[in-house]
């Protein structure tokens, strides 16, 4: 299992470098200092490119973050049971956050 999860960590890292770059540039820096408004967001989410960017960010960002947490946990002594519990918790967190995020994104653009 570890070979796969480690490899996926690297893949997510590459994807994040690119996608985060866009995300930060587009959303945190490109509105000329004005706060972004609801309408701005909806308009952008309607374009397939930008909503895909957000979904990619959500999935790979959360994977990378939660695998990172798991890695820190494994760096310390732990029993088999503790490892299973923590892994379960992290998987649950990952699935629920991704679920919530995707739900949120699609909910707001539902009324096209």
């Amino acid at each position: 299992m570890h070979a796969w999860t480690w490899f996926l960590q690297r893949i997510s890292a590459v994807i994040l470098v690119i996608v985060l770059g866009f995300h930060i540039g587009l959303l945190h820096f490109s509105n000329g200092g004005e706060p972004l408004s609801y309408s701005d967001i909806i308009a952008r989410l309607k374009t397939p490119v930008l909503i895909s960017l957000d979904i990619l960010l959500l999935i790979f960002g959360l994977y990378h973050a939660l695998y990172g947490l798991y890695s820190v946990f494994l760096d310390f002594d732990s029993g088999k049971k503790e490892r299973v519990v923590v892994l379960g918790l992290l998987v649950a967190m990952g699935l629920s956050f991704v679920g919530f995020g995707i739900f949120g994104l699609f909910y707001v653009i539902r009324s096209l």
């Binding site: 570890h2 494994l74 760096d75 002594d77």
Partner: protein, 240 residues
Amino acid sequence: MPDPLHVKVFRLNPESDVAPKFDNFEVPVFDNMAILDVVMHIQNYMDRSLSFRFSCRIGMCGSCAVYVNGRARLACRTQVSALKTQNITIMPLPNFPIIRDLVVDMEPFFKKWKEIKPYYLPKKEINEPVTVRPDSNEREFIDDMLDCISCGCCYSACSMVATNKAYLGPAALNRAYTLIADKRDAIRVERLKAVDRSYGVWRCHTQFNCAEVCPKNIVPTRSIQNLKRRCVLRKFGIFK
């Protein structure tokens, strides 16, 4: 007369001491003095009860590894002048159980060493006396890794060894790769499986502490990175 060295030495005698302490010694310097000379001087002339290990005195046996001024080093190969200070602190290697003073229990280190089956087992079908040319890339690649004298410096420098008792450590993983990279070896895949564990290669985060302290200039990080790659490739079915 050059100034004497101000030497602080870690002392612990489990039979009589409750807690470790540091003893201070003023040690006269001579040309080309090594840390081993320092502790021998202390033991000969100042405190007969100081315990430390050494054997060959020439950096071959790996017995005399100690932690001096913040780094694991071989006592016989560390020149006092290289430390560039008169203040020297000598401690036993970190991450090892301490038997007494500067002497550590190497048992956990060798237990992990054995876990990766550190011996070559020839493939049955090999009949040739030479299957890998001495000047070939693959032989030269393994060459450096073979220099390991199992001194324990890398093991004591690694933060992952400090935090995780089960982590195999740089020396064992380097040894594992030396054999896995050897195409004559019969149990390469079995060895790879032994290191493909959460307490094996995956605990290495490329700190490079091990490579910094190795007295033989081995880079265990390189071996471990190669092991990680082989583990992934094996999952993809490329390395069998």
